[in-house]
Assembly symmetry: C2
C-alpha cells in the first residue's frame, strides 16, 4: 500500500483502497464459490445476488423511489448522448440543452440527428468558466438535458436547473454522481459512466423513471431501448459483470462513509481546502467563477504556461500524478472524486506553498 | 488456489489462474506506477502502453495483416448484431446470413431494421444440431454473416464458409475466437465478445479490414461508426480499460501456450476425450451431428430429463459447476474454452463413468 501515489486523474480515477483489496480477494474465489467473480455466469446465483445487492444499495444511497428503474448499460455517457434522443426525440420535436462544456456540446450534436435540440443557455462566451443561472426554454421541450459537473472546465451546477412543466429533466452526472445529496424526484433520468465516482470504465449507471422507460421508441434496436434493460434486469445480453460487482463494492463503501450527506461534507472540506489556498495564495488562481466551482475537478493556473508546465512536472516527480489540465483550459486540474483521500489535498497544498515560495 | 472448482460456465467463463493472479497484483499498483490498473487514465502512458502491447500481441497470435484494424468496443456481440447492418446495409440492399442457432437468428432480426437479410441456409429443421454444408446466396449480398461456434447448440463451423465474389465475410466468433488456427484473410470482419475466450464481459474485440472500416455509413452516431474507433485507437471515449488489460494478459497467456496451433491441439484433445466417452459410453450421447461438433461447447443428454437433472445436481455437489444445458436443447453442456483445464475433463469423465455404473 505504501507505494501508492496521489492520483488526480480525471477518469478513470482513484478508487478506495479497501474496495480494491476486496476485488483482489474475489478474483480467484468469490465468496467461497471456488470461481472468481469475473468467471461467474451472469445467469448464476452468485452474480444474480451481486446484481440484486448492488441495486438495493444504490436505492439506499440516494433514496431512489420505487417508480425509478436502476439499469446498467455499456458505452459510457457518449453512448447516452445518442441513445437519449434516439429514444425520446423525433423529427420536428425539440429538446432543450444546457450547454456548459464540451460534453454538453457533444450531446447536442447527437440530438441533431433525431430532432431539433434547442440551446436553452450556454456559457461558451467565457470558455465555459461558469454555469448560467438563466435559461430560455423552447415552447414544448420533450426533455431538458444538463451536465451536472463539467470535468474539463471545473464547474458544477449547485442545484438542479428548473424545467418547464410537462418536461423531463435528464442529467449526465458522470463526474459527480453520488458526490452529494441528490433529489431523484426532480429528474426523469440520471446517467453516469462509472469511471469517476463509481468504479472501472465500461459500465454506465442509469436511474430512469418508469414513464421514460415506457416512452422510449420501439422502432430502434433492442440493445438501445431502455425497456429492454428494464424488462431483463440489465441481463438481456451479458452485462459487464465485473464492472457491476465493482460498483456494488463502491456503493457499500459510500454507505459505510455515512451516505451522501457525509460524502458531501468530506467533498466540501477537501475542495474547500484547495480553493481556499487558491484564493489566498500569491501564484495560483482558480479558473472557474466562484459561484460555479466544482467540488470534483478543481481547475487552476499560474497565468504563465511555462510555469504551469514546470509545476506539473515537479508535482509528478513528487508523487502527484494527473494534474495536467485539459488542453481546452490549459494549466492544472486536480480531480478529487469521492475516493480521493483528504491527505492528498493537504500534501498538495504544502507542495504548492513550497513551489510558490521558490517561484514567486 | 486449492479451492477452485471446475467451472463449465458458457460465459462469463473460466480464465487462466496465472492471468487472474497477474490481475490481482495489478489492482493496487500497476507495474510500479503507484496507481492500480483500473485507476489509470486512458490517456496516460501506462494504459497507452497496455493498449499498444495488447494490439501487438493480438496481431502476433493470429498473424493479422496490416490492412486489418484491431478495435475494442462495448455492448457485446448483441450490439454488433445491429451495428453491422446499420453500417453496411441500406434499404433495398441484401445481406446473407448462415442461420445456425439463436444468435444468428437475433442477428438476422436486427438486419431486418436496415435492409433485407437473406437466409442463405438454416439448420433450424433439426433444432440447429448441425452446420449446413450448402448455402444459396442472393445475387449480390453486401456481406455474408455467420456464427463460427454455436454456444447453445454445441456446433461449430469446421472451415470458413464460402462467400460469393465481391462480398465480405463477417464472423461472430464470440465463443471460439482464438481457439484454433484462423485465416484472417478470408474475412472482412471478425467480432467477439470477450467473456468466453478472451477475458471479462464488457469488451468486444473486432478485427476489421480497412475497406469495411471505410465503407461504413457516415450518417449514424460516431459511437456506432467503426471509423471512429479506428481513427482514435479505440479511445474516442473512455474504453473499458480493465477489460482490455485483461484481454492483453490472456493474449500473452495464449502466446505462452505456443499460440493458436498449440491451443488448437489442446482443445482437440480436451473435446476429443469427452466426445470419445460420449460415443462409447452406455448412458450419455452427444446432441450435435458428428461432423458439426464444437470443440468449445459439448452438449449431451441421457434421453431422460429426470436423469439429466439428477446428473447435473450430483455433478454440482462433486465440484463440476455450470453443466446445465440451455433450455433450447435441455440436458447438459460442458463449455470447455481455452482456459478450461484438461484435468477437469478427465475428472468429469471419471465422474460420468461412476454415474453410469450407478444409473444404467
Amino acid at each position: 500500500m505504501n507505494n501508492r501515489i496521489f492520483n488526480f486523474s480525471a477518469g478513470p480515477a482513484v478508487l478506495p483502497v479497501e474496495v480494491l483489496e476486496q476485488a483482489q480477494s474475489s478474483l480467484l474465489d468469490f465468496d467461497g464459490t471456488g470461481i472468481g467473480i469475473m468467471e461467474h455466469s451472469h445467469r448464476g446465483a452468485a452474480f444474480c445476488s451481486v446484481l440484486d445487492q448492488t441495486i438495493a444499495d444504490c436505492r439506499a444511497i440516494a433514496d431512489i423511489p420505487g417508480d425509478y428503474q436502476i439499469l446498467f448499460m455499456q458505452g459510457g455517457a457518449s453512448s447516452q448522448f445518442f441513445t437519449v434522443p434516439m429514444n425520446f426525440l423525433s423529427a420536428g420535436e425539440t429538446a432543450d440543452y444546457y450547454v456548459t462544456g464540451s460534453w454538453s456540446k457533444k450531446a447536442v450534436a447527437q440530438a441533431n440527428r433525431y430532432g431539433t435540440p434547442h440551446i436553452a443557455c450556454t456559457s461558451e462566451d467565457r470558455n465555459f468558466c461558469y454555469v448560467p443561472q438563466e435559461a430560455e426554454f423552447s415552447p414544448q421541450p420533450k426533455y431538458v438535458h444538463y451536465t451536472s459537473n463539467n470535468t474539463i472546465f471545473g464547474t458544477q451546477f449547485h442545484s438542479e436547473p428548473t424545467v418547464p412543466d410537462q418536461s423531463h429533466l435528464i442529467c449526465d452526472a458522470s463526474s459527480d454522481i453520488f458526490s452529494r445529496s441528490l433529489d431523484i424526484r426532480k429528474h426523469g433520468m440520471i446517467y453516469a459512466g462509472a469511471q469517476k465516482n463509481l468504479g472501472p470504465s465500461g459500465v454506465t449507471l442509469l436511474i430512469v423513471h418508469n414513464d421514460l422507460v415506457e416512452a422510449g421508441s420501439r422502432d430502434i434496436p433492442e440493445m438501445l431501448q431502455y425497456r429492454t434493460f428494464s424488462k431483463n434486469d440489465s441481463c438481456y445480453n451479458t452485462p459487464p459483470t465485473f464492472g457491476i460487482f465493482m460498483m456494488g463494492l463502491v456503493f457499500k463503501w459510500i454507505l459505510k462513509q455515512g451516505g451522501l450527506k457525509a460524502i458531501e461534507e468530506m467533498n466540501e472540506e477537501k475542495a474547500g481546502t484547495l480553493y481556499s489556498h487558491l484564493d489566498n495564495g500569491n501564484l495560483f488562481r482558480a479558473t472557474a467563477d466562484e459561484n460555479s466551482r466544482s467540488l470534483m475537478n478543481v481547475t487552476f493556473v499560474t497565468g504563465d504556461d511555462e510555469l504551469d508546465k514546470k509545476f506539473i512536472a515537479e508535482a509528478k516527480q513528487a508523487g502527484f500524478d494527473g494534474l495536467k489540465g485539459h488542453r481546452s483550459v490549459g494549466g492544472m486540474r486536480a480531480s478529487i472524486y469521492n475516493a480521493f483521500p483528504a491527505e492528498g489535498i493537504n500534501e498538495l497544498v504544502k507542495f504548492m506553498q513550497n513551489f510558490e515560495s521558490k517561484n514567486s
